[in-house]
């Protein structure tokens, strides 16, 4: 399966998902909170993504919808990088 994101994104997300086993693939529609993305992990992920991609999430992106799935989160990152 091909995914739109790069290895760094995959690693940052996997580090934040304690309930996702290694052999389980991360898909665009994987529900992040079901796999253990709690509020602290959400914020850690935000900080790591901002550092990795040298972007700053504006207020309107700091909502639970942005962090719902890898697809929604990658769309936010990709949009900010393109901006």
């Amino acid at each position: 399966m091909t995914v739109p994101w790069d290895e760094a994104f995959e690693k940052i997300l996997r580090d934040a998902l304690p309930l996702l086993t290694e052999d389980c693939a991360l898909g665009s529609d994987t529900c992040l909170s079901d796999h253990g993305l709690d509020s602290m992990a959400t914020i850690d992920t935000l900080l790591r993504l901002e550092q990795q991609y040298e972007v700053s999430f504006p207020d309107e992106y700091l909502v639970s919808d942005t962090f719902r799935t890898p697809g929604s989160l990658w769309a936010a990152v990709a949009g900010l990088r393109a901006a």
Binding site: P18, L19, T21, G36, D38, D44, D59, L62, V63, F67
Partner: protein, 496 residues
Amino acid sequence: MAELLHDLLTEAAARRPAATAVRDADGAWTYAELDRAADACAAWLADRDVRPGDRVLARLGNSRPFVALLFGALRAGAVFVPVGTAMKRFHLARVMADAEPSLVVAEGADTGLLTELGTAPVHDLAELPDADAAHRGRVPVRADDLALLMYTSGSTSMPKAVMTPHRAAVFVTGAIAERLGYRAQDVVLNAIPFSFDYGLYQIFLTVAAGAELVVSRTDSHVGLMTLLHRHAVTVFPVVPSLAELVLRLAARDGRQASTVRLFTSTGAAFNRPVIDGLRAAFPGARIAPMYGTTECKRITVLEPDGDLDRPHSVGRALTGTQVLVLDDAGRPLPPGATGEIAVRGPHVMAGYWRAPGITGERFRTDPRTGTVTLHTGDYGRLDADGHLYVEGRRDDLFKRRGVRMSALEIEAAALDVPGVRAAALLPPADGADMVLYVAAGRPAAEVLALLAERLEPAKVPPVCHVRAELPLTPNGKTDKKALAAEPPAPAARSAA
């Protein structure tokens, strides 16, 4: 003077009808609008045969309609039962059977689960009415009637409910307000679940002051700084884990959040770096550590910034109440001596719902005077001025991420996991997090994943060790001391 919890709303709506009462991500209501929405809910409940004394169970995220339903249920004479959205089926089944609600309100797919777990009609939040000018849903309510059942974890393997009469809730709201001084101009940001008394009472405290409550869902913490700025928040109740999260957000934010004037904290000891961090990031804010238990809501409040003079104190007893430190025979100890913390006063609740045995153990009535003394199970000491210092517990109850839990409760859930033959939880100690040991025929990661289906996230241990057998003491109990003494070994982790 209000005698009933919903009098607080009635009075605020008369005093400040056009002031903003409550705001969520979808919009805001003035006090007049909230008052009408509450009446609409009361009438809606009456139309669905909810009678005085019936339980209305609400399993909802923090939102404006929750506040309307709460006051509507109280006006209809019902007992309101807020249940956390994080609670899993394993406990929820027990709560549904125990509370025996006449009506349930939930959200989305959750309505199906609740329908399965009981016989009461389950309604979706979206069905709640918006407004209704008629007062026809209001019924006479007495101050000694029950207002709330607050489910709490603790010394039993399953949640149990603290019975909250109107009189006690109104008293304790006033006593907390006296200490913290919420004002009509305040904007209070509540990100604590309404299923916890700390979150729920933000509604009562805010309404009593005629102030504005900004409600944030617990899955939306990432947006807290946005809310702080956008709504010029002045009061921010936190637990230490939430404060840590806010500090990280504030550090990346860069904007001055100078409107916050007061942080309150409860639920666990506030460590020095977090307090110092809040002072640095929010220079205009004072900090009020507090201590309490659902069985009487709040026990002590330290005057804002009192920690500067009395580090680690959780403050003095609320006005009109008493905090005692007792020896093993139940006799009061002098200042400086450590013993069990006990509480007397009008805020002591009416015991546990349908649990006379454990009520008698915790809420002890003096046979001569009739005075009820609440035994908290916490240990601590008082100084000469009546400031309390909490030192910990001698049973296996503890708080993690602001949530009260017990080893017994987590072990019971672990034993419910197929393939687990024995379970022992070592509570957090000396700065180390809790650790689970199981005797099981399946990998630790699977045990943790299945445990996560049974317990809310805060109660899922970060680490699990699987053994063929757990060590036993000579009298056949799991030997936790032997487990604690084991050298660290590779283990499955459930949290980063």
